[in-house]
Amino acid sequence: VKLDLLARIVVIAALAAGISPLRNAIKRIKTDAANERRSSSRAVNPAATSAMGIDVWGRLRFQTLPSDARRFVLFAVRQSSLSADLLLWEQVASRLPRERGVYLVGYCDNSACVNSISGADHKPTFSVLAFGEPAALQAVLSADGKGESLLATGGMRPLRRFKWRTPEPTADNILNEVLK
């Protein structure tokens, strides 16, 4: 009986000793979760203040802004709608008066898009980037999630967004927005 009692007391001691680490673990996890919530609540909407990047042919683009630039249009090019996206922006590029100094900059959304464009016979007449700066990418991707593109001044000061992924997008509508 005494041995049994002793064994039970050992169990009690072990259980009692286990309480403190568990309480510490709970405290630590709660702190981590609170830090996490605080961090995510501070997340800001990034702005594209540069169009610098590496294009689908591996060239560094827009390291310095062109002196004749008056507008930049940044938009995502999706692999899932690659042909339609390229066709539309080609139409926009072909109708843009050169003296207006508008630069179109597409961002490929994945490596399949990069391979499709770099491997095609026909090169787009506007820049398509395979790699971009994180801040600009977050801004472009965030806008594209809403079907929008970003419009900036020739000095890359953000101007506004406009929706171009509409059920029936037209080059004319985009031109109106860009030249507004």
Partner: protein, 179 residues
Amino acid sequence: MIERLLAQTVRLAVTILIGVHLLLLARVAIERHQLSVARAHFDTAAGIPFQSVAVGGGRVPPGTSTSGFALRFASEKCPYSRSDLLWKSLVGALRARNIPIVILLPSADQAFAPFSIIPVDAPQVAFVSPEWASRYPLTLTPTTIIFDSDHRVVWHREGVLTMSDVKSAERVLISATMR
């Protein structure tokens, strides 16, 4: 009589302590779930290799594609990035395990001057693929992320590091598959 009373008390104590343990374990499970919910804005599924280009257009040295690595999203222009003293401690822990460190800049014009970067030999990356960027909401500097060899986020912190952050990162480094 006394022995029986003692035995009953001990039995009761064991029962109560087991109950307390069960409650605490349930609480740990609930808190862990809350933490995973709070971290859900970071994609922790197995990811894609980190494809990047350094400031100036050069390729980043290999290492990040074959093993786990630590990514520090920071900027010379950000006072919090510059004053994050505990980053140096975490660098020490990473270096002790030969884990590559890459500095990712929000934009190329926010590069650190030579010798002001920690660690001094870390490559500074300015360009990433949209595919990779879309998985990680990098908007705050400094943000520190540790990827395992499957390109999975095993640890991350947004903001200046605390001592408990460094300790938790070290705990993760012990259990994560980095090679």
